[in-house]
């Protein structure tokens, strides 16, 4: 089995962080878990939009 490189691991870490937040919100409010569209929007926000805004600011 091929191992991921450092860049891929960093990407995985970002998604894992987003998943941790999504899961926490979902356990507290299960309605949050009901739609793939909500999940996709949340993921887009967490791993693409917010990091892009932060990069532009910093």
């Amino acid at each position: 089995m091929k191992r991921p490189n450092r860049r891929q691991l960093a990407t995985l870490l970002g998604y894992a962080g987003a998943a941790a937040i999504y899961i926490t919100i979902g356990v507290l409010t299960t309605d949050f878990l009901l739609s793939v569209f909500v999940a996709a929007a949340f993921l887009f926000l967490m791993v693409w939009l917010v990091p892009m805004i932060v990069r532009r600011i910093v």
């Binding site: 999504y22 979902g26 793939v36 887009f44």
Partner: protein
């Protein structure tokens, strides 16, 4: 019914299919059988009114009802619409494969599916309890306590084992090039953002599997019952 399997199976199908598969209609096909019916199975509130099927299992999987959406014929009809009316054989075949995967996966529960509709016989192996009629939360608790959740787990583990399917290079070489929709979207949306949407169903399936499992077993302490047809603490519907 299955939960996360419908989010995750398309990644494995896409990876192993020798056909040129378009991922978006494949995923759409995987979701399609429940798109029109799930809300009415659990019921929704519209102001003072509650809309809910009087017999959720019958409505969801039976005839009369929307059970035909879980048949091979339904996939063929939508495939032909994509192919002959909208002019995309690739979208039609990809939808067909995703929809058939859904219909076959749902034979795992105690109600099963009318695979060969208009023949209304339900094909079912009865591995896990169908509890849609008990409401969303009890259904979730039951599903994530039985073999259905283990079936989902197989796909999660497989997804991490075949992790290359989620990489940017795989997306660019295999997914992006297999469907004209992606280049069209790429005129307005960067490829890094498209990649996020490609990964979203895997993120959703895996994350909600973990969240519902924590909700059912850490927050609410529902007992696991991995016996065939379980969990037996819930009243399962049968065909």
């Amino acid at each position: 019914m299955s939960w996360a399997a419908h989010d995750l199976e398309p990644y494995a199908i896409q990876k192993h299919s020798r056909l040129k598969i378009a991922f978006v209609p494949l995923l759409l096909g995987s979701y399609a059988p429940d798109l029109m019916s799930k809300w009415y199975v659990y019921g929704i509130h519209l102001g003072p009114w509650k809309l809910k099927a009087s017999d959720p299992a019958q409505f969801h999987r039976g005839w009369p009802g929307l059970g035909f959406t879980h048949s091979f014929l339904y996939g063929i009809v939508i495939c032909l619409i994509f192919w002959k009316v909208l002019g995309s054989k690739n979208w039609g075949v990809s939808f067909l494969i995703g929809q058939w995967a859904h219909a076959l996966t749902d034979t795992g529960d105690t109600v099963g599916t009318m695979l060969l509709f208009p023949w209304t016989h339900h094909f079912s192996i009865g591995a896990w309890a169908y509890a849609g009629q008990t409401g969303r939360n009890t259904d979730a608790a039951a599903y994530f306590s039985g073999l259905g959740s283990m079936w989902d787990l197989v796909w999660i583990v497989y997804g991490f084992y075949a992790w290359q399917v989620l990489t940017r290079s795989y997306f660019e070489q295999r997914v992006f090039t297999a469907d004209g929709l992606w280049p069209k979207l790429n005129r307005f949306v960067p490829i890094t953002a498209l990649l996020v949407f490609y990964r979203a169903a895997f993120f959703y399936g895996t994350s909600r599997w973990i969240a519902w499992t924590i909700w059912a077993h850490v927050v609410h302490h529902y007992p696991y019952d991995l016996s065939w047809g379980g969990p037996h603490w819930v009243h399962a519907a049968h065909s």
